[in-house]
């Protein structure tokens, strides 16, 4: 007799544990408010990424097309995988001295791992991380970017 009660109790507990699980899924089946899916391309406008999100390296320019990069190559040294390449030129100043400035800051997005080390290393805060994250393109060459805009100059007072 004891055996039979034990057997029935076992079966009952087993069935009960299954019903507990089914109640949970049944709850979510009927409560559509709990749905967490975000419909991505539709919510593009309302999707705000946090300021610190590391999307890609950009060089901010002011309204006079001026940037803060001195061409010191600190970012190039700091980068672990060679995504940044500083091409420098020497400008002849009025007093006859030569001054180092950047010609191009080449950025290889295809190599970048968004580790933020270049931004940390930059002494003049010339480069920052942008929040864009849709980087897919059809041609790999489009991922090689020049960060300074054409014709841009270094901002006054940045050494």
């Amino acid at each position: 007799m004891k055996f039979i009660t034990k057997y029935i109790k076992e079966v009952w507990l087993a069935i009960k544990s299954l019903f507990v699980g089914m109640r949970r899924t049944g709850y979510y089946f009927t409560h559509h408010k709990e749905i967490i899916t975000q419909e991505y391309p539709d919510n593009k406008d309302s999707l705000i990424l946090p300021k610190r999100f590391k999307g890609e390296v950009v060089m901010p320019h002011n309204e006079n097309n001026e940037h803060r990069c001195t061409g010191c190559q600190a970012c190039e040294i700091a980068c672990p995988n060679g995504s940044l390449k500083v091409v420098t030129e020497f400008n002849l100043l009025e007093n006859g001295r030569k001054k180092k400035a950047i010609d191009k800051l080449v950025y290889h997005l295809e190599l970048c791992t968004m580790c933020n080390l270049c931004v940390e290393a930059c002494p003049s805060d010339a480069i920052i991380m942008d929040q864009t994250f849709e980087h897919s393109v059809f041609d790999r060459n489009e991922l090689i970017k020049v960060l300074n805009k054409p014709g841009s100059k270094i901002m006054d007072g940045v050494e």
Binding site: G21, G26, F29, T37
Partner: protein, 358 residues
């Protein structure tokens, strides 16, 4: 009033006025065949979108919502994709058996449609051993799975097929015993008689607790027989990638997929016929007014409503439970379900003899 049986009668009358009896029968067969194929396609589309939506809502997701209104045409898109996909036959496969297997699965599912009463007086073939026919034909399903698994020449497929063989053969027993308990209560194997016997109440209510136990065992057993989770060992994807249909692609895969869903529909339809009164409306004792309102709902809606409710329960299982292991699966059958259903059949026999049921 509009009903399926009226349409069938008017078609029959129209045909027999214009053609001689032999041609009429042939034409009617063709129409019936086309209707079954059409129902097949419809069921595939409806059940796939239903499964996807049910699973999505249980998993706090939205589910398909891009194709058509609220994503309801998603299964058309799926079908189109499967149709244009290349149907590969692996090099080392037994090509004849490999290509035959999905068709056997389909044909079995189609044959099972024959004795099902979709509405009042609307049935393809009301043969006098209807229930026996169903349990006999549904066993052939295992042959197509074994064939697919063997012919694929893939170890995963073979293991899936072998698991499925062991599983279907075992669970056939308790499914059969549950069916038998209703046959005992009714005293007939004929589908129309079984439904007629439930005019004053469905067997699940009339048969007291033993009928409920038989019903639960039936649901568990058919879930296992149709290879659906938590008994989907034949295609256990985390263990055997995709089980017996690992090597199938394109339309051949779609046929297996379709056969699985149609099988689910059929076993649920059988469950409806045996336990939930088929197309019989829901009546409560002597509430004449209530019963009258229920009678106004067409019988086909009663049948499909009950069937889809059972399908929903089976989907609910799938999206809640983890999978069993093969030895636990067989233990469940031989140590729990079979003894319980055997005792249950005895109790029901006693009930039927002593006329204890309502």
């Amino acid at each position: 009033m509009w009903s399926f049986s009226n349409i069938a009668d008017s078609i029959h009358n129209g045909l027999s006025q214009t053609f001689n009896p032999t041609v009429t029968v042939i034409l009617e067969m063709v129409i019936a065949g086309l209707a079954v194929i059409g129902l097949f396609a419809m069921l595939g589309l409806v059940l796939v979108i239903m499964e996807r939506k049910v699973s999505a809502w249980m998993q706090i997701r939205l589910g398909p919502n891009r194709v058509g209104p609220k994503g309801m045409l998603q299964s058309f898109a799926d079908t189109l994709k499967l149709l244009v996909k290349e149907g590969l036959t692996p090099n080392g496969a037994d090509k004849f058996l490999f290509n035959l297997a999905p068709f056997i699965a389909m044909i079995v599912a189609m044959l099972l449609m024959a004795p099902i009463a979709f509405a009042k007086d609307f049935q393809l073939w009301d043969l006098n051993i209807g229930v026996l026919y169903v349990s006999a034909i549904s066993s052939i399903m295992v042959i197509s799975i074994l064939m697919a698994g063997w012919a694929s020449n893939n170890k995963y497929s073979l293991m899936g097929a072998m698991r499925s063989g062991a599983q279907i053969v075992s669970y056939e027993l308790s499914a059969g015993l549950s069916i038998l308990s209703i046959v005992i209560l009714t005293g007939s194997l004929k589908v129309s008689t079984i439904i007629q016997s439930q005019a004053d109440g469905w067997w699940i209510f009339k048969g007291h607790i033993p009928a409920i136990i038989a019903f639960i065992i039936f649901i568990i057993a058919v879930t296992a027989e149709t290879n659906r989770a938590p008994f989907d060992l034949a295609e256990a994807e985390s263990e055997l990638t995709a089980g017996f249909h690992t090597e199938y692609s394109g339309m051949k895969f779609a046929l297996f997929f379709l056969a699985e869903y149609v099988n689910v529909f059929i076993v649920c339809a059988i469950g409806t016929i045996l336990f939930l009164g088929g197309w019989m409306p829901f009546h409560i004792g002597h509430w004449e007014g209530f019963n009258h309102v229920m009678d106004y709902i067409p019988s086909s809606i009663w049948f499909f409503g009950k069937t889809f409710f059972l399908i929903f329960i089976i989907m609910w299982f799938r999206w809640t439970f983890p999978r069993l292991r093969i030895d636990q699966l067989l233990n469940l059958e031989w140590k729990y379900l079979l003894p319980i259903s055997m005792i249950n059949v005895l109790v029901i026999t006693a009930m039927a003899i002593l006329k204890w049921h309502f």
